[in-house]
């Protein structure tokens, strides 16, 4: 569930969209708005480069099975390990836990060829849900988002219009969308525009 990430940030400071105020538009056809989204502020993010030999250390530190299958992510509690490439992964963790996890991993991995890099401030994660979320995303993303093809546990790197994104499918028609922080205002504005015909709500 995306909601598990909704615990309040423990680190002060700005985020990519902390200046963006809450906003909404009604569904022109009546009923619930089609897109609901918010920034997952200060979500911890570590970029992991390495191979299968990191398995034990990562399992011990995060509880997540490693490595995830290609274009899948593994979940353990509030932690997720997202497949980005054959030797590249993204660890998502509770706000503020990234430093401790970084140190634990660096200290327990017993080989030289790996890299753990804190990218918590480099990437912005958005949580998206709503009945029209797939229709909104399809306007800018060429992935086949049919639940049977891109269901819970799947992820992919793609484009949303002109922004590079990582998209993760969660249960209950919820998605996590990750982009570079400097693209986050564009992604926000793009989503608001694309949701015009369904109505949307952006919460802070």
């Amino acid at each position: 569930m995306a909601n598990s990430f909704e615990s309040k940030p423990v680190f002060s400071g700005e985020t990519a969209l902390s200046n963006q105020s809450a906003s909404k538009s009604n569904n022109p056809s009546g009923g619930a708005v089609g897109l609901i989204f918010h920034e997952m502020q200060h979500l911890g993010k570590l970029n992991i480069r390495g191979d299968h030999s990191l398995k034990a250390a990562i399992k011990a530190a995060t509880g997540c099975h490693f490595p995830p299958l290609a274009n899948h992510f593994e979940t353990a509690g509030e932690r997720r390990i997202v497949w980005l490439g054959p030797d590249e992964y993204l660890l998502l963790c509770e706000s503020g836990k990234e430093k401790a996890l970084h140190d634990t991993l660096t200290n327990t991995i017993k080989r030289s060829h790996f890299a753990i890099t804190d990218v918590s401030d480099s990437l912005c994660a958005l949580s998206l849900s709503g009945a029209a979320v797939r229709d909104v995303l399809a306007k800018g993303c060429s992935l086949d988002l049919l639940p049977a093809k891109f269901g819970a546990g799947k992820c992919a790197q793609s484009l949303l219009a002109h922004a590079g994104i990582t998209l993760m499918a969660l249960p209950d028609d919820t998605f996590i969308l990750i982009c570079r922080t400097s693209f986050a205002p564009y992604v926000h504005d793009w989503l608001v525009d694309a949701a015009l015909e369904y109505g949307y709500q952006f919460t802070v």
């Binding site: 002060s12 700005e14 060829h113 480099s122 800018g140 002109h162």
Partner: protein, 1013 residues
Amino acid sequence: MSRLSKAPMGHQIARIDAKCRIDRSVPVTFTFDGRTYNGFAGDTLASALLANGVHLVGRSFKYHRPRGILSAGSEEPNALIRLGKGAGAEPNIRATQIEIFDGLYAESQNRTPSLKFDVGAINSVLGRFFPAGFYYKTFMWPASMWMRYEHVIRHAAGLGKVADDHTDPDRYEKTHAHCDILVAGGGAAGLMAALQAASGGARVILADEQNEFGGWLLGEANISIDEQPATSWIGKMTNQLAAMPNVKLLPRTTVFGYMDHNFLTLNERVTDHLSKRPAHLPRQRMWKVRAQQVIIAQGAHERPLVFAGNDIPGVMLAGAVRTYINRYGVCPGQRAIVMCNNDDAYKTAIDLHRAGARVLIADLRAQPTGPLFQAAHNVGIDILVGHAVIAAYGTHRVARVEIAPVNHNATAIIGEVIHRDCDLVAMSGGLSPAVHLHSQARGNLQWDEGKLCFRPSATHEPSFNIGACNGSFDLVAGLKEAVRAGTKAAAASGFKTASLTVPDVTTAKQNWRSAAAWKIPNGHLAGRGPKAFVDFQNDVTSNDITLAAREGYQSVEHLKRYTTTGMGTDQGKTSNINALAILADALGNEIPEIGTTTFRMPYTPSNIGAIAGRDIGALFDPVRLTRMDDWHRAAGAKFEHVGQWMRAWYYPEESETMHDAVNREVRAARTSAGLLDASTLGKIDIQGSDAAEFLNRVYTNAWNKLGIGKCRYGLMLKDDGMIMDDGVTTRLGENHFHMTTTTGGAAGVLDWMEEWLQTEWPDLEVYLTSVTEQWSVATLSGPNAAKILEEAGIDIDLSSANFPFMSMKHAHIGGLPARIFRISFTGELSYEINVAARHGLALWTHLMKAGAAHGITPYGTEAMHVLRAEKGFIIVGQETDGSVTPHDLGMDWIISKTKPDFIGKRALSRESMGYSDRKHLIGLLCSDPKTVIPEGAHAVIDPDQPLPMDMLGQVTSSYFSPNCGRSIAMAMLKGGRALMGQTVYFPMLDGTVLDAKVVNPIFYDPKGARIDG
């Protein structure tokens, strides 16, 4: 026509009472050429105009001939309309595809001053002097005049005018979609195939260009399916499909492009048909569909017959006439001549007769037989077999025809000419399958000698052709193909289906063969007599084609370009087969040997707005902002774009000009302290036991011995030895480096290095991670920089002994954890302070507060450029342009002589790299210290030499330097270092000549004494 033009408003004189697809309970009012007309919901603009007795709707492209409505579909070449007013006006829309709504505003095109009286029609009288290739032949000399000729020709020839206000007010969107099976075309075969394919659960998209599904069946009166009218079956099929969750129905949607890998583009007209358009919906939407399988059910186009006067309003395609009668309740004429080479047009004759028209059939065939012939005969229609309409006459509407007996294949008149008055000619030259999508996807065609048409053979993509577009004009044959294709396509996508039963079809049996009759004789010599049109839209006559053949044009592609046959908005849907048959005849060849021209997307013109979608305005391209951006904006900064980033350019105070502001910022950085937002610099985190070796290979200098916590400048070359990027890299740990790149080069450098690691050096244990946005960077520069940091609260000793130039320390500033790099792009004491991006704005505001007592001054990218130019520091992309080596810049010191290799090393050893006439970086001092030589100005040794002058090179950077009290410049000049101390000249566009002395490019503090403050 005069009788009709006096008809009272709202009197739809051609409307008949038959049951049809319009809704007579919903009247609609619209305007055409300033006059108000009435129609009904369900009418197209074409059917509503015909209902009102209006046949004349446009003027032709070249001869400005009066033109009417030829067809009832998307193949329409003539009835092109300018729709709407003001900024939303759109030209060249086919009246046959415009659904009318209350308040619709339409105008005819290509006429001055009015449709009925058009001065351009003189071209028609002089038509003998405007044959094919007329423009090429006449306006060849002098070549320099072509631009002027063209302006006049473009105005006289051509179609509609675009909106005067070029800002399209409408909203357009685009979207991606995926499906197992895309069915292109929702006629009988398309509906059947979609239902068959979807019955096993496959995802199906069914798109049709019309407002309702059913295709040509909507225009037929005498076909029943399962003992119900055909339209009942269509309704049942459509409802069944609409109820299936795995089926997406897209009416009003044209599949206009078929690309590789079953990628197709569709244009959906979402609100074009509505009088009040909801603001939340796009006017049009482009669908980008990726389909596993494609079923093409595009239908067929009826061919005109090529006889004299076949373009006069009131001469229509026979199938279209039938559609207007049966679908729209409009009988386009009362005294009709039906001319044909096949059975199909007999249905039109019968329906015309039933609608109350007097009908005469001129059948080109000598001995037509069969149930339709018999049926027409039985209801008392006059039939002339072995006869052709050899000429039609009339001004704004056909009034009279000449009919004559012709021989087999209609190559000669063999008897007496009959004259008949008429107000409608319905012609049918046989059907051409719409093989457009199949051909766009590089499918092959074969010639069908019996049906006289090209039909699909092998497909290139996973696709099926069914029904009329496959040459299977018979309804039952088409439905059988639909079931087969639906089953196969579903199976290929992994879905099992049980085959549906083809419904019972009751209709008169019909022979689908046509008799060849490509060019109807008219008793005149070639090139004389009234014109017989092949391509209506481009005003190409049969004589133009035979002339082109005589002039040596043998390839159909050349013929197309020379005569313009098949060009324009309709791309020759009605004309292509006639044109190449006439060409084949003129060349004494067979049609299949001539072949067709290439079919390209779009099938029908598609709005550029829909292709752009929402990629306009602020969403055209992302703008990347730093975390300190809000502060810069509040401070009134001016900005410049650097790649996708927007950076503070300068910060004018009150009424300051840019020059004043930049001078103030530049002075402050040298006299006290300046603060720059350097967050956009590319940053790459490099980890691994081979990290130092990796840097040895990508940079020209040596990295093994760099101490932990030390920084070093590096130049990166492409494999051709030319400078690609530069920046400072710092050793954070034994196996850990932090690289910086130029702002614009960041992504390219990361890709470049990742490619070398993955493809050339997989043995190196190195990983790269972009951290550009992880860190916000404020650069504090100037003699008071250390003082300000101390006052800001820093927890390390800033003395040069403890924290020397070109080193890095971890520290806290005002409690914020930071990496501080003592590096300098200004030549001053300078600290690049990196904090986690979340603290970027806090750091900036904290430093501005701490430095206020020292007059800390924010400076932008322009001051940064001046400061570095004063020191002779290069900017990659400004001094360099992809053709500059380190040697050219006088930077031999940065090229390691001892390293075994680095990228670009071999290229630098080429003999040409040492040529003395390569361009070198030098400094310039203009003889007038107030004059700033324009960047890009070209230098010469002798300004009095004759043109063209020998160019030495160009000015790359040029500024007024307040710290030097004069202008300074850098330039890349041929053999520049040998010119030291000499004067070079810069001839300006206004005729003046500037002169400057060649000097060393370090203008300020050449000994570097200021680096420690």
